[in-house]
Symmetry: D2
Amino acid sequence: MTIDTVIHGGMLVTPDSTFEGDLAVDDGTIVSVGTEQAMPDAEETIDASGLIVMPGVVDPHVHIDDHVSLDTYETATSAAALGGVTTLIDFAWQSYVSEDSPWDEEKPLRDGVERKKKNSDQAVIDFGLHGGILREDPDLFDELADLVDSGITSFKMYTTYEFGLSNGFIREVFERLRDLNAVGVAHTEDDSVCESLTSEFQAADRDDPTWLPAARPDYAEAMAADDIARLAQETGTKYYGIHTSCQKAAEALARYQDDGSLIRGETCTHYTTLTKDIYRELGSLPKIAPPIRTDDDNDAMFEYLQNGTLSVVSTDHVAQTRERKENSKWWEDPFGANGLQTSLPVFHDEAVNKRGLSYPFLVQVMCAKPAQTFGLPNKGTLEPGTDADIVLFDPNETYTISARHNASVADYTIYDGREVTGKVTRTYLRGELVASEGEIVGKPGYGKFVRRERPVWNED
Amino acid sequence: MTIDTVIHGGMLVTPDSTFEGDLAVDDGTIVSVGTEQAMPDAEETIDASGLIVMPGVVDPHVHIDDHVSLDTYETATSAAALGGVTTLIDFAWQSYVSEDSPWDEEKPLRDGVERKKKNSDQAVIDFGLHGGILREDPDLFDELADLVDSGITSFKMYTTYEFGLSNGFIREVFERLRDLNAVGVAHTEDDSVCESLTSEFQAADRDDPTWLPAARPDYAEAMAADDIARLAQETGTKYYGIHTSCQKAAEALARYQDDGSLIRGETCTHYTTLTKDIYRELGSLPKIAPPIRTDDDNDAMFEYLQNGTLSVVSTDHVAQTRERKENSKWWEDPFGANGLQTSLPVFHDEAVNKRGLSYPFLVQVMCAKPAQTFGLPNKGTLEPGTDADIVLFDPNETYTISARHNASVADYTIYDGREVTGKVTRTYLRGELVASEGEIVGKPGYGKFVRRERPVWNED
Amino acid sequence: MTIDTVIHGGMLVTPDSTFEGDLAVDDGTIVSVGTEQAMPDAEETIDASGLIVMPGVVDPHVHIDDHVSLDTYETATSAAALGGVTTLIDFAWQSYVSEDSPWDEEKPLRDGVERKKKNSDQAVIDFGLHGGILREDPDLFDELADLVDSGITSFKMYTTYEFGLSNGFIREVFERLRDLNAVGVAHTEDDSVCESLTSEFQAADRDDPTWLPAARPDYAEAMAADDIARLAQETGTKYYGIHTSCQKAAEALARYQDDGSLIRGETCTHYTTLTKDIYRELGSLPKIAPPIRTDDDNDAMFEYLQNGTLSVVSTDHVAQTRERKENSKWWEDPFGANGLQTSLPVFHDEAVNKRGLSYPFLVQVMCAKPAQTFGLPNKGTLEPGTDADIVLFDPNETYTISARHNASVADYTIYDGREVTGKVTRTYLRGELVASEGEIVGKPGYGKFVRRERPVWNED
Amino acid sequence: MTIDTVIHGGMLVTPDSTFEGDLAVDDGTIVSVGTEQAMPDAEETIDASGLIVMPGVVDPHVHIDDHVSLDTYETATSAAALGGVTTLIDFAWQSYVSEDSPWDEEKPLRDGVERKKKNSDQAVIDFGLHGGILREDPDLFDELADLVDSGITSFKMYTTYEFGLSNGFIREVFERLRDLNAVGVAHTEDDSVCESLTSEFQAADRDDPTWLPAARPDYAEAMAADDIARLAQETGTKYYGIHTSCQKAAEALARYQDDGSLIRGETCTHYTTLTKDIYRELGSLPKIAPPIRTDDDNDAMFEYLQNGTLSVVSTDHVAQTRERKENSKWWEDPFGANGLQTSLPVFHDEAVNKRGLSYPFLVQVMCAKPAQTFGLPNKGTLEPGTDADIVLFDPNETYTISARHNASVADYTIYDGREVTGKVTRTYLRGELVASEGEIVGKPGYGKFVRRERPVWNED
Ligand SMILES: [Zn+2]
Ligand SMILES: [Zn+2]
Ligand SMILES: [Zn+2]
Ligand SMILES: [Zn+2]
Ligand SMILES: [Zn+2]
Ligand SMILES: [Zn+2]
Ligand SMILES: [Zn+2]
Ligand SMILES: [Zn+2]
């Protein structure tokens, strides 16, 4: 029998190990991994000698085409494909009404889902959706079971911003999620502390973006991280703490991660590779929340990734433009920075080249664990039978990151000028080549919405 | 030279030790402690043989004549004197306006101080005042220095109820208190968690008071306790966490008490001696916040008192009446329970008789530490030169607690029917006998407002 | 091209996941894993439907043909093969001279290696050797580099028994092992505490074997475990703490396992499945050191295996006979119990069936981690390119353990009468069937000595 | 009535507080503390204005006239009196026989007691005795009850040196001490680790005394400290860990000090004020075990004194001479350094002047806690009824420490040349002036053996 493709002679990386070998793909699925002589005949043989052959990156924290991100599905997923990302999870938002909100009517969360499903028809890679809860509206509780059945098995909430929810309501949501075996996700910063400090800085004309980290301090993040992790523990809910930026917040998560824990955490590429000096260099372009912090916090992120308190590295990709970030005061600028196209090479360079961590570690935190955490059994692995989402990565090629190559609507990158060794050569999605040598070759629309399973953590 | 009084032959208790001896008082001041033959001649010699001679209790958490407590200064301080309390700290409230508030105008905190000073002219014992901050009004910051100068060197805030403050505003207050060397005090329960659970129980008609502990759970207390203690640590502010009721909240305080800590904590007599079964017995009469919890929490309070995480036992005395507590649903009943008259005998019986702790321990947590914590160098000790605030306590007399003897306006006691061994025989305030054998003999008005110092903790 | 064998239709288990598929073997090596249609043509196809297909068990703690164990290589490795074990690590002992020692001359450790290599020519499965250091003889230091080069990359010491070493000498050994990138291994019990308690029980005629656990208490184990782990941390040496039996000892290891730790730990099947009641049932037959402990310790072993403090489950197999264990006093009986033939089914039944843990967990602690810990990259995994050491395991077959089937010289089993579900059906070593349906079919002598690599832990 | 003496107008320091006042003494006992006007008539009034009036120092760790210390009772206690020490605890040794031992016969411990009682007839201050156990001889167990009855209520053991005991024997002693309500005391360093390092340094000719700290490293101390504290916890015995010199050892004690703990710890003045640089300056003169360590360890000692892990500061006074310390290699020099005469002024200067700690803290760790820990209710306090052991201390006088003033046989001081502010002016023992302005005025022989009580710790 003849199958579609054999990827030959690369260094295969699984979450456990690396070994030189071949990988066979048929009908969009990995059908075997092994030695050359054990491969079936194939229509096409791709030479991967000298390259890393790894699962496509699974990025569970991406903002596309919404109230905070300018990307369309086509631009964002193109950036993703170029960056070796083959699956992302975006957010379907519940609408809320306020002066600044993009909505003029409060509708059910399923409307947000419908909207995203409609607007995502030009996706180049696969994607899932988190439900995004922006109102304290108990009607939501009647929607949850159907949403979970439809593959939206995680729900995000905020403790800050005008659409932040109270701890009490989050507790109520958690109880429902627990009963549905779904995952709670939260952006955790103590809103009033950040607001009070921001006001203080506004009153003192501290309008330079270097003030941002002090306005949203590590302890404000840790306060909310601690509260929400405690609620997760008390209610027995699977909880995923996102974009952990600092030692104090990671410590708060760790506190509630006892044996058989239902608490997991994420950090982002930028919290492992940049320090707050970046605000001096790039002004508001890297304005995000939580802000970028210190060297010691970079180190702490790696410690907590290694000991398992944190298990995922994401991008929190948001597409903003230079123009929108050019207000005279940092607090007038919108939050967000793009990262889909650069996350794998930047994190690889830091983790593998600079810190001497292994490729299996890289594949754990960028592929296997995000997939396992969010109910994507066919993603993030080279296991036969799963989707042939594969990245060929040249570990030896050195290049300089520049926004000139951005596929995203975003016209800058916070890694501008950074030289990294290791480059995405080819990205395959379900066996099809979608990006090659820095060019998109996939057809918009080939990327599909993935119905996610209710995830099982630590055998629950 | 002849002095006023010698108290002869009792068992003197200091924070360190007990010894049989005499104590000489002149002009309201302790002038010596020693053996009989070393005493100066005295006008009067009081026989204390067989009795404990200890400093008057200093209760730093008492509510009198305000929006939550029905007692007048005369009734509350009479209860205090009968209970061996010679100094209490009440609250001077900032007014706030709401449908349910007792105020119709928002005035400065100093108006609340004036009001309390005026209404306290019938006090039987000495008293201080905490400032009570009930609004997020930055005008307050201009008042603080004067208030501290006038002897109001601690300020209480709430994280719950309609007059609760945000973490962000508490942070701002803390920064001012730190600069003034004053103490922050907070009632810590996560408001939204308590509200969400209460609403849930209301919706489910869980109107029996036995539901109260679950409606204001230990973890809600711990969440806020953790947040505020963290803010104290981050701002470098002296912080006193009140009415700690449970293991989880005490653990949260302990987390921020490293070496040279500026964080202290209090529990109350009822959290060391009662369990939530009391709601089955007495309905809403013991409805307080935080609620009374479990056996294990009782034990934890003693552990944390012994290891120093907690250092004070107070009453959180509030005078309510049976009538006001007789609504059909527990959530309609007001909070609060009285304790001034019973706290010393009840806690003594539990700590000394039942748990085998020492008299110096008793004097530490009820006299010396509250005085030291709140800037009262002349109170809470038998040291020569300090106020002759003295309790003669008969450790062998057994009696049954009953509300029939209440001096407070409150017409019930949550310890009703409890048999205790150990009874207050005589209470002296600045050398004068104010209560004797269960009767008030002091003149209303003899008790004075005490200007408190800025306290020094752990050599700051 | 036609390869040797395809194992078809089983449930393949890797350290990360399980999936239905096929596995191809050629020339003793796994050449691919994948779906049926991607398999090459094979001489033989083995039907594994309904069976678990897992890597052969790697047991790094086995005693064969030495001063404590009666088994020959043939008997021990036959038991192993029947139990699904395809690689074991035995000990090559340095001789020491004493009244009870089996040696009459003190020779270099390499003599012990030679002896084992000679006596192992009838091995049915593969095996490695730990060096066993029984004397405080600095001449040893000159041997170490050669021994490590020859594939003996770990060295065992005792803190107890007449051949126990002092902490000071262990420190000296550790410094050499660190420099050679080898692993220190230690049996940790405080000798003098065990001796003092044993003497006490002897004096009191407490000769019933139920006294054993109290004579070698958990704290004695924890004392030595703490000391040796501290020495490993201080010297920067890779250290593997063996046969951890209790909560206290595991806690001691955990104390020194900070981030980037060089400290790992092992427990044994019996410490996860038996309690000290077994001494009441079976007398001295389960007499081992450390002794079998409590229910709570069983639970703790699983907690520490799950959180990574412990990473391996071994047998500490020692072949003794009933006859040798039939002295009138337990202290006269020799130590040791056999386990090679029963470890996988017993631990599988406990971990997977009773505690709901996953097959990947089972493969981690019994196959992948022991192999990785001890420098055996071709063992313990289903990765293409590695040795085709494979177990077919029927997860549904229920049977009762009995010593009647023992291949070991040992004529009893401490699991006698235990009904377990899950049975080893076939065991392959480097592609050859060595045990099938409870019968040895491999040729004695096919098993080979494996030169182990210097292991890399946590990227060192 | 006229009493003997009033000490007038000083700053009295108790374990809790300081206050200006007078102190009356009659018949060797403190009969009152108070204000001037409350004092009885006295034969003599001593002006203490400008001076600190504190309890005499209680030093529970002193070596006199034995196998390690050259002082006679007269010389040692004279140094003590000049240093403000009014009670010390020396050791009565069990004899043991070895090449280097001073004994040629192994006798009961009571013989050592007799010897010390005989040789102490020229004592200038009061003293107690620890029993010192130097052999693993169970006959000792028959002596213990009588010794405890005779006021020897604590027993010291070593884990190092040729007279070190095994953990197993220490466990046996602990069980007896627990039953007798006595206290176990241990010098904790892992002997074999210190020996192995010392041998290594000997072999490498590292004969400069700056190698000492590395030869007896902090971790060797921590290993033994951890083991013995664990034995104390397991057996339920009161245990006092002596001369804690480092962070790691203090942490080991802390680990076993849970609530209701029976574990206490001591550090010495030199571990709080000197660093290992002293070996560069003074060669072997400060050779002691454990050795003097680092700045960070100094800081740690204060942290642990403040949080209560450690509760006592002693001297470990040993009288050696320059001559005996002048061997060419540090390992040939004897251990020990003298400190009785300098401990109070040196520790006062460091703790109060340099670190801003309070006088009550000083009195706690040097007077009250050692007295309470070792069953000396009449010592270490200014409480009426207790012994009038009083130090007048001038906090403002600055002087330079020099061995020229040594009353000890020792002809050097490790604090030589250190300028300190704060000087002992007068020392009273049971009301009698024993040292005044640097001169001994007491009669040798006035100091008496004190029968100590079985101490009660934390209400046991
Ligand atoms: Zn966010
Ligand atoms: Zn985000
Ligand atoms: Zn309150
Ligand atoms: Zn209150
Ligand atoms: Zn062993
Ligand atoms: Zn073994
Ligand atoms: Zn010593
Ligand atoms: Zn000593």
